[in-house]
Amino acid sequence: MPLIDKITSLWRKSHPVIQENHAYFREFDQARKLEEYDFVVFDTELTGLNSKKDEIVSIGAVKVKGLQIHMSQNFYVFVKPRGELPKDSTLIHRITPEQIENAPPLESVLKDFVRFCNGGLIVGHYIDLDMGFINKATRAELGGIMANPCIDTLRLAQVYREEQWGNYYDQFNYNISFNLGDLAREYNLPLMKEHDALQDAIQTAYLFLFLVRKLKKGGITTLKDLYMAGRSWRWLF
């Protein structure tokens, strides 16, 4: 079987919700104004950071439309992991084994989550980590990964910091933190409770709005602008 058919057969096998997901982004126009896109800002709580063995215990997400946070359009679930809930993770997110005792397994909420994200661009703080966990699950359960373009607020925060300082040598200042809570305090954002997936997602949404409006002194209007800002010429050297 030629490779192309192999791929299309895989494609065919994927779950309708994933096919739908891909359909949105097959033709994607970056030139529109940011206000015209829907963004899904999300965060997960995990049993640990190792994507091989650790699992998701909670997902929180909130929508940003017209560059405004729509607080009620949110997604918030606890998930029962297959394995044990390690004690050290409980210390961070304060989710106890009892709390997730009756929670559904990941596979039963995954479809809903993908559907929630469909049509939107995904935003997260150090988003690669969360997407890694999510895509591992969608590949296994739904036969494909999510095609949503992703925007990392951590990356934007780095660009913003460089803009602020404009000094090459500051890159070697190791005292700076890009932790979500630290950034929120530094930028004087309204503060949310940390290590709760929904509140962290909302916190990330505040950070996202802040950075989008502040980067390039407010000169970012289209998605393309945002992408170019994230690339920043400094990395060419």
Binding site: M71, N118, L198
Partner: protein, 643 residues
């Protein structure tokens, strides 16, 4: 690209929003269910520092903005582009309520002064809340009496000097019983619609009370009922009034003030109220009656003062002046308007008092002029300020006239001060009062006093200058006072040495910011860690305006008036003028609010502010205001390079 969110199953009510609303006035008045509904609707937006959210007369206001974090400044811009700062709003405050309620475009400019996050509430939802929840509505209605604000803004736009704040005074002081013009007009329930309409036409009124067989009032019919229930529905005009009347009638006690009536009408969406006195309906008032009342121009208290026939009657009237201030502050009037209002009321009390005194002491032997000094002279009185006054009479021409004048004015001065104390104006601790023989003198002596201060300046003279040089004639032969001012102006402009002394004094007080930009506060004693906003903050502005006015021959005594003339005559730049006025007014506002709080707590108002009790925004603004002091001082150094 849109599709139905089937994932609603996993959405929750955002707790952060509910928590925020629960600690935000007046949303904390709402029940949990309403809060939940609101939380589902609120959106959050971010406005970086310097964003103009509303543009005066341009922006269509679609949302009520509730500030979650950050702050905004609110300002007016007149035709010439002159900016007048109106207010600062910080966390938990709202913007946009007034234009939504009035269904107008933004009436002011709103610009963020910090990075600001706002919750947005749709205007329809906001209006529904106002209509369905009277306590919620009261919060907004109390914070702006609609009519008042409109006139206040109009006035600001026109740069009019004389305050015209009649609206509020009436609203809060006139009782509804006083509005009733005639006995209630009634019809029996059995009367035909036609006869009711005929009766309304005959009396030129828009409503009739409806009575039962016993003569008790059971309902009301209005113009509107005839329109909507009879004409529009094609009812027969022979039907009885009882078939369309609204029952029962909404009533209000005759002792309630008009503001309460207005609130009741607005919250129940009606225009007629029956006025009740001791369980008897004495008449009907309409929203029109209240509006007409607001439109009339002389002040109510003012009217009471000028019509007062007894000196003792003035004692209680003068006690009402601070009440007026309270209302004005609540309504958001500008500090300068408040002080001018107080000044006008105090001036009229003085006028009445001295006029009545002459009625029983007899006509004075020679004409005289009552002089007001210090803050009274500058028309900048706040609440109870100490008396600073003096008396000047025409030079006596004969020895007999001299003796008669001394005798008369000595008694007159003493008595006037006694009455003023009873009116609630404390004595001047420095004894600068007309009862002191030194400050009760003929014109020639006064001229000598001023000549002496100006020609032989010594530190004490300079101190005097700050009190005496702000004099203005308050009563009597005002021309005498103007002549003295004229004389003084001619002289001071030539007296560089005297002006240098004044200038030096201006430079002595350091702006209350330390090197690290913290506030300098009192180090010890009763006011430890507090900031004396008068001495450290306001006085430098007053001193600057006085110095420059004396230098350039400006006769005005009011600080803002002086600044405006200095700007118009191009002695100070427009930019400095705007900055100075903003900084000065902001501090005045802070002081007013502080003193009001003290008075409400039953304390004597003072000028000591605790910086820790200020919001971040207020602190920031205050610091910026103090920075202006340094700028004023560097201007003084430019103008007086010899220092």
């Amino acid at each position: 690209m849109r599709q139905q969110d089937k994932s609603d199953v996993h959405s929750v009510t955002p707790e952060v929003v509910i928590e925020f609303l629960k600690k935000t006035l007046p949303f904390n008045e709402l029940d949990d269910k309403t809060l939940q509904e609101l939380a589902l609707e609120l959106k959050l937006d971010f406005f970086p520092k310097g964003t103009v959210i509303f543009r005066q007369d341009e922006t269509e206001v679609e949302y009520l903005y509730i500030i979650q974090k950050g702050g905004v400044k609110i300002y007016l811009k007149d035709e010439e582009g002159m900016v007048t700062l109106k207010d600062f709003r910080g966390e938990g405050s709202y913007i946009g309520a007034l234009p939504i309620i009035q269904k107008t475009r933004a009436n002011l400019n709103v610009e963020t002064v910090e990075d600001t996050f706002c919750f947005l509430l749709k205007k329809e939802t906001f209006l529904n809340l106002i209509q369905s929840n009277s306590r919620f509505a009261q919060y907004y209605l109390k914070s702006f009496s609609e009519k008042f604000l409109r006139t206040a803004y109009a006035e600001l736009r026109q740069h009019r000097v004389a305050p015209k704040t009649e609206g509020t005074l009436y609203l809060f002081s006139v009782q509804v019983g006083d509005l009733v013009k005639s006995d209630p007009k009634t019809v029996p329930t059995s009367a035909t619609l036609q006869s009711a309409a005929a009766k309304m036409a005959k009396y030129h009124i828009g409503s009739l009370l409806v009575t039962d067989e016993k003569g008790d009032v059971v309902g009301i019919v209005t113009d509107k009922d005839l329109r909507t229930k009879v004409v529009a529905q094609g009812r027969s005009i022979t039907e009885p009034v009882g078939s369309i009347m609204v029952s029962p009638v909404e009533k209000i006690g005759s002792h309630k003030v008009c503001f309460d009536a207005l609130l009741m009408m607005m919250s129940k969406k009606i225009h007629h109220l029956a006025v009740e006195r001791q369980n008897k309906i004495i008449g009907v008032i309409t929203s029109h009656d209240i509006m007409v009342l607001q439109g009339s121009s002389p002040l109510y208290l003012f009217r009471e003062i000028v019509s007062q026939r007894k000196i003792e009657g003035l004692y209680s009237l003068s006690q009402k002046v601070p009440l007026v201030v309270r209302t004005l502050i609540e309504e958001g009037a500008k500090p300068n308007n408040i002080t001018r209002m107080i000044t006008i009321l105090n001036d009229h009390i003085l006028d009445r008092l001295l006029t009545l005194m002459q009625e029983h002491l007899g006509t004075p032997p020679v004409p005289f002029c009552w002089l007001l000094m210090g803050s009274e002279g500058r028309k900048e009185q706040t609440f109870r300020t100490d008396q600073d006054n003096a008396l000047m009479y025409r030079n006596p021409e004969t020895e007999a006239e001299k003796r008669a004048a001394e005798e008369y004015f000595s008694a007159f001065g003493q008595e006037a001060i006694e009455h003023l104390v009873k009116c609630g104006y404390p004595r001047c601790p420095g004894d600068i009062m007309a009862s002191n023989p030194k400050w009760c003198q003929p014109y020639s002596v006064w001229q000598n006093y001023f000549d002496d201060w100006v020609l032989r300046p010594e530190p004490k003279q300079v101190l005097h200058a700050t009190i005496f040089f702000d004099f203005r004639p308050g009563y009597g032969k005002l021309d005498m006072g103007y002549d003295l001012r004229e004389h003084l102006n001619r002289m001071t402009q030539r007296q560089e040495i005297f002006l240098l002394h004044l200038a030096k004094d201006c430079l002595e007080s350091r702006p209350p910011l330390s090197f690290f930009k913290n506030f300098i506060v009192e180090k010890d004693g009763e006011h430890k860690n507090r900031l004396d906003i008068k001495t450290r903050g306001l006085v430098p502005f007053v001193d600057f305006a006085r110095l420059m006015s004396l230098k350039y021959g400006i006769k005005e005594t009011n600080t803002l008036g002086r600044l405006e003339l200095l700007y118009q005559n191009e002695h100070i730049s427009r930019e400095l003028y705007v900055e100075t006025v903003e900084a000065y007014e902001f501090q005045m506002q802070l002081r007013f609010v502080h003193q009001l709080e003290m008075m409400e707590a039953g304390k004597q108002p003072d000028n000591y502010i605790n910086p820790r009790e200020l919001s971040d925004l207020e602190k920031q603004t205050l610091k910026e205001a103090f920075v202006v002091i340094s700028r004023l001082q560097s201007i003084i150094k430019d103008v007086f390079p010899m220092i």
